[in-house]
Symmetry: C2
Subunit: 259 residues, 2 copies
DNA sequence: GGCTCGGATTTGTCCAGACACATTTCGGCA
DNA sequence: TGCCGAAATGTGTCTGGACAAATCCGAGCC
């Protein structure tokens, strides 16, 4: 070891030479990756080698490599080594949700009134939109969400579920909370992904009438597909009255170095 | 230490008793949190205590606690301890972007035509929407994005930037690519967060005319605020022609618990 | 009362090892 | 030639320490 962390550090290049040892090493290694010294696709030196080079223990090198992994620079596998997979920290931006309820963005104490359900056979266009295949038999459930029983309408909902959930559809009417929640619980399959599409469309006549609006009223249409391992659990169209609904999201930059 | 990791493990409860030591401890601690043995808001036992209880080293306990931190169960601070912040594994869902261009969702080879710019003083409502304060002086830049020079219009854009970027506004017209990109580069401040609001609105008359649409045409309005450390870099309203634009997003479940 | 200044406590960083486990490579054997 | 097992290689897990840095709390002082 050379000197110490705290004593002779703040004199020279203040930025690069401060902080814990493993972070300094992490920065150095990141620099080598970005400069091409460790090309993308190649294997980095082993932990032992790096430890020797930086005159430090394997523990410290591992901490540095752990950071590189989390930042997306490298990929590590036991028995194989540390492979460079990206040249850049990939300044990642992401939006995170504590739960799918947040994605929902509708207060939980609103009430859903189910208008009815009916079997449908998907045609080409519908199949594409709900994420099924043309010719498959699904069930469509129609409903309206209200601010409160007898209150103002919030949106019109058309949900499509595969026929195999037929037995559960009856429970939709008395279920409080979103359908995907019930389906996820009963089917036992965890929702792995949600695909959402947002558009502005003129509200179909029948729907506008249900919401007490004139024909051709503008609406915000949300389409959500809830996907478990491979299969669609439920796909849902929501028509929100224009102006009544704002879909808000915050996208944040991921994990930056402390500086 | 009791016996070993590999020998007498797979006999009993196969699920809970396998895997590395730190993961078993992590599962046990998570169980205690979920069962309320460690209430939310309280401090957990210290690393040393846990190490003593599980008859293991502090390193192993730290690995377990690191997992709990990543899963969102606890929060750790030097000198204070490990505080329970959540009862549940917080099955997190998130949407990630490799870059802000992805958020943009408009092909990069479209062309932006700047119509002009003018200083504005924010009134209360505008201030709230662009993220400034009432009375502040900002600059509004109007423009239209086209599929190609002389092609079809895609959307009308009103961007607001604080007055301090006045000198950069002239460069907007000949800049290719999004404005935030230019501002981020020139100001040197990294965009930390983007706030986005999506609504369906009737297009204002003046805007509809610019896009060659009848008055009152439905549109998808996107409002994006690009935030650097504390300050708004630019806020942008985009009016997309209804039906022409679909905002798509995929939200995926992050790192699932072993269960 | 309000302030500062030391401990005591607790997590953060770090060391020098050890064995387990996964992967690749290579030599031996059929 | 082709297959299989063993050795080499490298990361994963783990021990039992050590000191540093942040935080909290109480004692003492103004």
């Amino acid at each position: 070891m050379t000197r110490d962390t705290g004593t002779a550090s703040k004199t020279s290049a203040a930025a690069a030479n401060t902080g814990p040892r493993y972070l300094r090493i992490q920065r150095m290694l990141a620099g080598r990756i970005e400069s091409g010294a460790y090309p993308v696709g190649s294997l980095m030196p082993t932990e032992s080698d790096l430890g020797e080079e930086f005159a430090t223990s394997r523990f410290t090198v591992r901490e540095a490599l752990r950071c590189l992994t989390e930042d997306g620079y490298v990929e590590r596998r036991q028995g194989m080594g540390t492979r460079v997979i990206s040249l850049r920290p990939q300044r990642r931006y992401h939006q995170s949700f504590e739960s799918l309820q947040e994605l929902f963005q509708v207060a939980v104490d609103t009430t859903m009134v189910v208008l009815g359900d009916q079997p449908v056979v998907l045609d080409g266009e519908l199949a594409e939109r709900v994420g099924g295949r043309a010719g498959e038999r699904w069930i469509r459930i129609d409903g309206v969400r209200w601010t409160a029983p007898g209150g103002r309408p919030i949106c019109y909902i058309q949900s499509y579920v595969p026929e195999r959930f037929e037995a559960l559809v009856q429970q939709f009417a008395e279920h409080r909370g979103p359908f995907f929640d019930l389906l996820e619980r009963r089917s036992g399959a965890a929702i792995e992904e949600v695909q959402q599409e947002i558009r502005a469309v003129e509200m179909p006549l029948a729907i506008a009438r249900q919401l007490g609006l004139p024909a051709g009223a503008a609406s915000l249409q949300l389409l959500r597909r809830y996907v478990t391992a491979g299969a669609i659990l439920i796909a849902s169209f929501n028509w929100h009255i224009a102006g009544e609904m704002t879909y808000k999201m915050r996208i944040r930059r991921g994990r930056q170095q402390p500086d």
